[in-house]
């Protein structure tokens, strides 16, 4: 087991290198003038371009620039992001908790809903309940996130005024900024609890409702499908049929035997799903003005903020490899049949 883990961890620097090299090679298609454009906002600053190119060494060959960047990273410095107006590492540290909080709550909802609906669908296969739940979940996957998000915003904020965009209301925002508030985790809901401020918790939750609803609706479909098919397969397995033939009622069979085994592939998938969530929040964050890493990532990419994009790539590669590793380990631990060499 430990050798397996070690081998997987060894992958990490390789993948990280590969991802960043991929980004850098894409950027080879850009001229120094285009890359220098990151630093100016108006064509009237164009005659500063040669100066800027000189200042940031943008006219050097790409591999030289990559090597410089690599050396910087090995010293713990991920560079400066023009789009975030702060060091890349600071920006990531600042944006990440917001996305993490959003992903966490969405993930919980997705898991609960997905597994419940999936199990229900499988047990009641081809009946009304099955069709209904499948229709709902498939509908969720069929609508572009931003459409659904905007409709939710329009109805629940524009019309009712219940759930505003952003992460905190004005008062809450000012309070969080003040010295009376101690940020322990960066997750506002948890921090509010730890600070004993119930109204703050309430405010944070209020702002979470719509983005979580948007994300949940969209991604639950996949989990329902997986759970359903996995459950179906398990229900067809010989030991289940034997148990039923022996006279055990369906519920008991499902509860005691089937679900545990059916959930195995779901667990593995859940890990991937979570990492996928972290990257899939881009559109949701844009629509709800959520100060997270997805929204920043897109802005940085659009403006070719190379230090930001490569730093971003690095962090993500790391998260993904670790996430995959956790999922695989969990899979191996939970399923005694699978033992990896």
């Amino acid at each position: 087991m430990s050798r397996f883990i070690a081998r997987r961890l060894l992958l990490l620097p390789f993948v990280a290198l590969g991802v960043t090299a991929l980004i850098f090679s894409l950027l080879q298609l850009l001229t120094p003038a285009m890359r220098a454009s990151l630093y100016i906002t108006d064509p009237k600053q164009l005659n500063a371009l040669p100066d800027i190119i000189r200042k940031y060494h943008l006219d050097q060959p790409v591999y030289v620039q990559y090597w410089e960047w690599l050396r910087q990273v090995l010293h713990g410095d991920l560079g400066w992001s023009e789009t975030a107006r702060e060091p890349v590492l600071t920006a990531i540290r600042g944006y990440f908790p917001a996305t993490f909080e959003l992903a966490l709550y969405s993930f919980a909802c997705i898991l609960v809903l997905g597994i419940w609906l999936g199990t229900l669908s499988a047990v009641q296969k081809d009946k009304i309940v099955d069709h209904l739940s499948r229709s709902t979940s498939i509908s969720g996957a069929s609508l572009p996130t931003f459409v659904w998000g905007l409709v939710l915003l329009m109805v629940f904020y524009g019309h009712f005024g219940w759930f505003p965009p952003g992460r905190l209301g004005l008062d809450a925002d000012l309070f969080v900024r003040s010295p009376q508030f101690h940020p322990y985790t960066g997750l506002l809901t948890i921090d509010a609890l730890l600070n004993g401020q119930w109204w703050l918790l309430w405010d944070a939750l209020r702002h979470l409702v719509l983005p979580v609803a948007t994300l949940t609706y969209f991604i639950t479909a996949t989990l329902v499908r997986i759970t359903r098919s996995s459950m179906l397969e398990t229900l067809r397995a010989d030991y289940v049929r034997t148990a039923e033939a022996k006279g055990l009622p369906r519920d008991v069979v499902v509860d005691k035997h089937a679900r545990r085994n059916a959930l195995i592939p779901v667990i593995t998938l859940a890990g991937l799903l979570f990492v996928g969530l972290l990257s899939g929040v881009v559109i949701t964050e844009t629509v709800f003005n959520w100060p997270g890493i997805g929204r920043w990532g897109v802005t940085a990419s659009q403006q070719l903020d190379i230090p930001a994009v490569t730093g971003f790539a690095l962090i993500f590669a790391g998260m993904l490899v670790l996430g995959n590793l956790c999922a695989d380990v969990l899979y191996a631990v939970v399923d005694p049949r699978i033992r990896l060499q």
Binding site: V15, S135, S139, S142, T222, P265, I283, V298, S301
Partner: protein
């Protein structure tokens, strides 16, 4: 990106027990007909195929490039459905009916191109990787690892930002993000089939590798690809729409549902007196995308029910 890939969940090499049963085709049709959702999916897709094929008849092209939506004037406020514009117009007066009809065509073009490219790459790389194994396999796997380690939408954004905004570049970007999944899937299937008895027999008999791959391996591995592709068709259109929403997809005025939705997103709140005043700008392309993706999702699910080897053997 949207859907998450279904990993191969079952231990490979499960032997198939020969039984007396009705022909594969009859079984397929029967199972299909049993499920109303599958039938619905099929109907939707057939409808869209018809619209796409008949586009020049349904909406006569006026501009030099038929994918550019004609516009009457340049006024920025959308107009509601009325004479001359059966479904209304978007901002800058692009006709929604024309956009919806030709959007069906461009949706198919985009989805089929990306899926085609993905399958093409997967066939080459995946077959080499799965069939020969060894260091080829390692290299290909590491490369797919690298591509998969990066959030799909962000990678697509970077690619379009570098290449320039156009429908073609957006397709390239989505294809670049999509190919690793197809390759991995095909490789897994190749690995499974490679060890099967009849393939081993053919090899033992001295049949050439290429022949084996084409004649035996591919037809037996195609089903998961079909499932993946049909589930992906909708996802690709949604990703294309997302790129348009971010201003990186097709240029404004291009007949593409995602483009139409992105043109509508400023008008979703309507005006002061009437929040639903511009409902048609969102509803027309929204319903089109929704039905298209829904159709493919249902169809993909149906294919999965039918072709899934785990469920093939049961009654």
């Amino acid at each position: 990106m949207s859907a998450v890939r279904v990993p191969s969940l079952v231990a490979p090499g499960a032997p198939t027990v020969p039984r007396v049963q009705p022909s594969a085709w009859q079984r397929t049709v029967r199972r299909f007909r049993r499920n109303p959702l599958s039938v619905l999916g099929l109907c939707i897709i057939v409808f869209f195929v018809a619209v796409a094929l008949l586009a020049p008849l349904l909406a006569h092209p006026i501009e030099r490039n038929p994918y550019m939506i004609p516009h009457q004037g340049y006024a920025s406020d959308p107009r509601p459905p009325g004479p001359g514009h059966p479904l209304g117009t978007t901002e800058e007066q692009f006709d929604l009916y024309y956009g919806a009809v030709w959007g069906a065509r461009s949706a198919f073009v985009v989805a089929l191109t990306v899926v085609g490219a993905g399958i093409a790459v997967a066939l080459t790389l995946g077959s080499l990787s799965g069939y020969y194994g060894g260091w080829i396999d390692e290299v290909v796997m590491r490369v797919t690892d690298i591509f998969l380690a990066f959030p799909g939408l962000i990678l697509a954004v970077v690619i379009v930002a570098v290449l320039g905004q156009s429908a073609r570049n957006a397709m390239i970007a989505i294809a670049v993000v999509a190919w690793p999944t197809y390759t991995r899937l095909l490789r897994a299937e190749f690995l499974r089939v490679r060890d099967m008895e009849y393939v081993q027999a053919a090899r033992a008999m001295g049949v050439r590798d290429v022949f084996i791959i084409i004649r035996h391996v591919i037809p037996n591995t195609i089903y998961p690809i079909i499932i993946l592709a049909s589930l992906d068709m909708g996802g690709i259109v949604i990703n294309f729409a997302a790129l348009s929403f971010l201003g990186l997809g097709a240029p404004p005025g291009y007949a593409d549902w995602g483009q139409l939705i992105s043109l509508s997103h400023n008008w979703i709140l309507g005006t002061a007196g009437d929040p639903f005043q511009y409902w048609y700008t969102l509803l027309v392309p929204g319903v089109a995308i929704f039905l298209f993706v829904l159709g493919w999702n249902l169809l993909g699910d149906a294919f999965q029910d039918i072709f899934d080897p785990r469920q093939r053997g049961s009654v």
